[in-house]
Symmetry: C2
Subunit: 670 residues, 2 copies
């Protein structure tokens, strides 16, 4: 039926048959390991190819009841089952070793490398004399074996979970930040922050408590293996939602922009929140697990951890984003004055390198790289994007779009395959059922009470059908899975992984498939006008590629008044009253008067926005280009000054559209 799958499985057989030959030399073994690695990659490559081809066919036949991510999961499940049950077992050989008698190693941690003196033929008699070693091999540290009976590490199509965090997740998260539709995001900032920060923590707490209760009702052997911290960790990892499937459908159906912004913004931020939250829980566990009881100082310490790590990571990301903006600003200025040809390749390379550096710096400093890369992406879109040449804009946009597409589909394929091939699953029906129920309840606790509270302050309240849709959009995805697979050392953690995998698969396939019906059932307005679509659909969607890059394209929008057009959304961000609105206003002022003129070529120049005593500094930092922009002081020629929360807007009169285009894009052409 699927020739590629069978081809892959056929190769799998060929290799393992070959491997079972009697006389395997060491070189052949190394080659074999390399081939198995290649084969694993090939299986995933073929699965992704198959997914892409099926999407094409589905699109051709206008199938809407199954989305690409659901497809990827299902293909993964099928191939995983084939590998598991059809393939021959290729267990890793292992041996028990002890230190040599004359060892003088006395650190309290295990050594990094074992030097194994391996005799050609072991002739260990019962008298215990050790044979003369013929060869010495190096072995490197992998981890602790808790349950000796269960340590059957398998070579079948499994990857190091660290790969997720260092290779797969960063481009996905960066892309989310880079494509964030900032206007509607900031307009709904209050709701988004409430759902993402308060809601995720609340959901984690509720799920953790309920699960702990459920576990206590279960058989004693199970109950004993879970501590409250374990179930709380489970609550934290199952709380973040995945935007992918639902938003692709939203894009396609042109759903209400505010609903879109809320769901997208929440799911982007709650990934970051959950990651930091679970890290804080683990730190708490590490530090205070000896004492047993609950300590208020330790608890406050964990909260401090959470806030500190989140805000420091945010700063690292924002700093790297602004640094990139500054460098690209200098490059762009250079282009104006020297009239030399541009180098989009250099710009793009710099962009990619600096963004990845943000991730790495945060990781090196024991912060959260994912949070850093998210805010780096937001800053890159807000500042750097304006300085790039149009070629670089396209290039970076398309590059991250492609990386994001491949990484996402890979992750969902892997979730499917690993369901069968990952060796550390632990199926516990009670825990799984409890997980499904509590995660649904957790989502409900996140949405309904908080919406009620938000509606007390919001001018246009969140209508009930929007709340239902927000509840329904609580698919679980990549982040939950990645957190669950990170640590599978104990049985409790393995049960969590299994439950998480099942929840992800079920929600992505079933809820994702039913999303368009849910929209229709809840009578949520779809098919918004073309004019609004232009503002509304930032997220990439393979089904309608002409929408791709709207999130970025609208930055080039030459209509500063678009901010005012959708008046029904205005002021909806001040969920918690006037305080937040004032904060947002302050930030908007800093952004448009200091950061924008400093980091981009936006008008007005610093010399006009800074107070008088700062003028000398401002003059140094302002380009001649900014001076010579003509005298019609547009406050809003820069298109993505989207921070229009209750800020009194100067009505933009006498704008020459051609001029305003030149202001932003024109330095290459002057």
């Amino acid at each position: 039926m699927n020739p590629i799958i069978f081809f892959g499985v056929f190769l799998h057989f060929v290799i393992f048959c070959h491997a079972s030959g009697a006389d395997i030399a060491l070189d052949a073994k190394a080659t074999l390991l390399h081939r198995i690695d290649s084969l694993n990659l090939l299986i995933y490559t073929c699965l992704l190819t198959l997914t892409v081809l099926t999407i094409w066919v589905f699109k051709h036949r206008r199938v809407s009841w199954l989305h690409e991510t659901g497809l990827a999961v299902i293909y993964g499940l099928i191939v995983g089952a084939i590998i598991r049950y059809a393939g021959s077992t290729n267990q890793i050989t292992h041996i028990d070793v002890h230190p040599a008698p004359d060892t003088k190693y006395n650190l309290s941690v295990p050594p990094d490398v074992l030097r194994f003196h391996f005799p050609d033929k072991l002739q260990v008699s019962s008298s215990g004399d050790i044979p003369v070693p013929n060869k010495t091999y190096a072995y490197s540290f992998r981890g602790e074996i808790v349950n000796i009976e269960q340590n059957e590490i398998d070579l079948k199509a499994t990857f190091d979970p660290e790969i997720f965090f260092n290779i797969i997740l960063p481009p996905i998260i960066f892309h989310a930040g880079y494509c964030l539709k900032r206007k509607y995001f900031f307009r709904n900032l209050g709701a988004i922050l409430t759902f993402a920060m308060v809601g995720t923590a609340l959901s984690a707490l509720v799920i953790g408590s309920l699960m702990y209760g459920c576990v206590q009702l279960m058989p004693a052997s199970l109950a004993a293996s879970f501590t409250f911290l374990d179930t709380l960790y489970f609550g934290a990892l199952i709380s973040p939602t995945d935007p992918l499937t639902v938003l692709a459908i939203f894009s396609q159906l042109k759903v209400d922009v505010n609903l879109y912004a809320m769901i997208f913004g929440e799911s982007v931020l709650n990934d970051a929140v959950a990651l930091v939250l679970s890290g804080a829980i683990q730190n708490y566990e590490k530090r205070y697990s000896n004492d047993g009881g609950f300590e208020i100082t330790a608890f406050l310490g964990a909260i401090g951890d959470f806030i500190g790590i989140f805000s420091l990571s945010l700063l690292v990301g924002a700093f790297m984003g602004c640094l990139t903006a500054l460098i690209s600003f200098l490059i762009a200025r250079d282009k104006i004055f020297t009239h030399v040809r541009e180098w989009p390749l250099l710009e793009s390379a710099l962009f990619v390198l600096m963004s990845y550096a943000a991730f790495l710096i945060a990781e090196v400093c024991e912060l959260t790289g994912v949070v850093a890369v998210l805010f780096c992406g937001i800053c890159q879109a807000h500042y750097t994007y304006n300085n790039l040449s149009s070629d670089s804009r396209n290039r970076t946009k398309q590059l991250f779009e492609l990386l994001n597409f491949l990484a996402e589909n890979f992750i969902f394929t892997y979730i499917g395959v690993s369901m069968f091939t990952f060796p550390k699953h632990h199926f516990d029906p009670w825990f799984i059922i409890a997980g499904f129920i509590t995660s649904t309840l957790g989502r409900a606790v996140n949405i309904y009470p908080l919406s009620f509270l938000l509606n007390l302050g919001r001018k246009p309240p969140i209508p009930m059908n929007f709340q239902h849709m927000l509840f329904f959009s609580g698919l679980r995805g990549a982040m939950s899975f990645a957190l669950a697979i990170r640590n599978t050392v104990s049985e409790a953690r393995q049960a969590m992984l299994t439950t998480t995998s099942l929840i992800v698969i079920a929600t992505v396939v079933l809820q994702g498939g039913a999303a368009s019906h849910a929209l229709a059932y809840l009578r949520i307005p779809t098919g918004q006008s073309q004019n609004d679509e232009n503002e509304a659909l930032p997220y990439r969607d393979v089904r309608s590629p002409s929408d791709i890059g709207f999130g970025l394209r609208n930055m080039d929008s030459t209509q500063p008044s678009s901010c005012d057009r959708a008046t029904e959304g205005r002021g909806s961000g001040d969920g918690s009253g006037g305080e937040k609105a004032r904060l947002a206003k302050l930030w908007g002022a800093v952004d448009s008067r200091l950061l924008k003129p400093l980091l981009t070529h936006a008008r007005p120049p610093l010399t006009e926005t800074l107070p008088a005593f700062m003028r000398p500094v401002a003059r140094v930092l302002t380009t001649t280009h900014q001076y010579t922009q003509g005298d019609n002081t547009l406050r809003r020629t820069d298109s993505d000054s989207d921070l229009c929360i209750d800020e009194p807007q100067p009505v933009p009169t006498s704008i020459d559209p051609q001029l305003s285009i030149n202001v932003r894009n024109g330095y290459g052409h002057v």
Copy 2:
């Protein structure tokens, strides 16, 4: 001076100081390892950023005596030295272990995993009683330790060499194939194949023999550690040349197109040849090293290996390329008939996945993935590219351009850094001097005698100054280094690595820097007319980005007569007489009559090109679009039918340029 370097080094200190704290728990150790990984990546990211910024500054100041790759190497050397001498040592702890007394393991190969029973505190008394283990740790196989004194594996900025072959090399090689300027390549095919196939083998043999002679003259301890196969292997790995630096300068100076094509084509192919050749030598070594003496059957077997692996890899790559073309053809046909919007993201993803699958399939089948990916790239450019939408063309082109840029600069940075940080260097002054001399001689033996032979048959002979330039362009690069670092198990191999690194660094920095002066000294025509430039400069060059994609853009050339314009180059490919020309003609016919109509939308359709008895088959395989192309039977509307070797060309009359554009690009627009 360089804040980023110092920042990296500062972090390095912070971490290692932290590591030397007395009470490191196991978790902290895992965290530390992760942070060191991140730090290593960060160092390279910062180095690449620095290189990009310096290129920008150099371009600004019009510096021409140092190229970007030379720059990357030099920065790498500086940072490597700082890490080596300024950083505190963070040696890996190790311990000697023996199998447990009750072990029943009796395979002849070492086990994959050791289970190390680690006591909290070792209290091994002289009586040899083994303490009760408290914890068990898993250790995985790393490799054999040959010289126990030398096995100090270091954590400092070194990567697994396999990463080069699986991650870094494929995009570089694919990009080379994808950007191959096929017209001039095929016109100079005879010379290119002679230099790449015969020349590389000859060079390897000469270098191997001379080195063996040199080694015999050296001190006995050194002589004993090298076999003839070792020096032959050295010959094979030092023979391939790197196009990068010289070609970037060529692009900039608009050097003669035939010289450009020869150097580029040779260096692309000889990478593949050297890789397969070194593999054949290793296979020979593995199989027949026991017998000692030279066996003619074994030698023939090695040659058979070489030919078989090379051609099978070529077939795998070409097959995958054609398969992609076929699928994209179907997608493109779909676009014509359904008038639905295109999905460039799907196309691009498919393109990337299929190309990487070519690499993986070859690796899984124990062929050479790099060769497969090279020919896959050539096929993708020849067939698939014509079927892609313009968005996908840009996207794939820019993606591989960026990947290639990052990968290349990473490799040269790594060569610099590893000079100091890679633990398995072995400095042997005699071997190094001999290596420099013989590699120069090997290049001379490759170029001058073969040019003499080629000139006997070539119509416009290769002039003497071109030969000198070919000789001078023999920089060594990524492939030599990757082959050398792949196996550093013995002292001989370590000496080879050191020598190779030094040769690469010296040639890239010195020869690369002097290339423009050499061009001037040899009076090689530069600054060719704009019209010719359009044909001549396929390779990307960061210094002149408007040239980017000429290799691809010329596929869109609407002037089929351009093939005839540069008449001085015509017929120069038939180096070995009429036989090869006939072969090339045959291939050209198959390509334009069967493959092109089958895999792309090129005219004429199969129904016209196939013999009468194949008509029913042809009718099925031909699209309506191809039928309805109008009746002016252009044989050459497809622009990249570059196989114009002595083929009688129909003079293209009555071409409506607008029509011919539509033929190729138009299916999305009709």
